[in-house]
């Protein structure tokens, strides 16, 4: 069965600095990988996805993610963090009918 792991419960960065939220995956076939963000008291919002093609995927709000097959990783990145990026971030993997989420990483961006 497919799964994703987010090794960090919490990531703290200063505003203006680059940020990385880590994700590794385990799938039996080709991975369909996603990042979602959850703001307080809200549902999950789609950020970006990797299905095939370029390893660097660009998404909403200036976020991007790099698919690395050899390291089975799909880390979320942003060159310059904003305070408003503070939220809970979930990596997810999809296999046909099923999507499974990582445990989530709480990103805090301090002014």
């Amino acid at each position: 069965a497919q799964s994703v792991a987010q090794p960090e419960d919490q990531v703290n960065v200063a505003e203006g600095n680059p940020l990385t939220v880590k994700c590794t995956y385990s799938v039996s076939g080709n991975p369909y990988l996603f990042w979602y963000v959850q703001y307080p008291n809200r549902g999950l919002q789609f950020l970006l996805k990797y299905i095939t093609g370029d390893n660097l995927v660009k998404g909403s709000y200036g976020f991007e993610a790099e698919f690395n097959k050899s390291q089975t990783s799909f880390h979320l990145k942003k060159p310059s963090a904003l305070v408003s990026d503070s939220a809970l971030y979930f990596c997810a993997v999809r296999d046909n009918n099923d999507m499974r989420f990582g445990a989530g990483t709480r990103l805090t961006v301090k002014p």
Partner: protein
Amino acid sequence: EPEVTQTPSHQVTQMGQEVILRCVPISNHLYFYWYRQILGQKVEFLVSFYNNEISEKSEIFDDQFSVERPDGSNFTLKIRSTKLEDSAMYFCASSRLNEKLFFGSGTQLSVL
């Protein structure tokens, strides 16, 4: 952008009571899901539904849980006899095959 809608936004019930959480998926989506999240932590998969039957379910989705698509638009999650530990935010989602999931804003279930 199309939306998944969930009702009610909050549900308070007594332990042992039945609750039905309602969802209206996006109209041209064929895959439907229920997830739950306890205290803003991990998003836990409950069940996926396609072609009028359950595709997959997790160990959480025991005999107390059931899902139904009673008509062409609604998708419901029923908990027959609620327990304290069922208190959580329940999210409905829908999608097309191998595409992103669209999530509703959730139903906060509180079991007293």
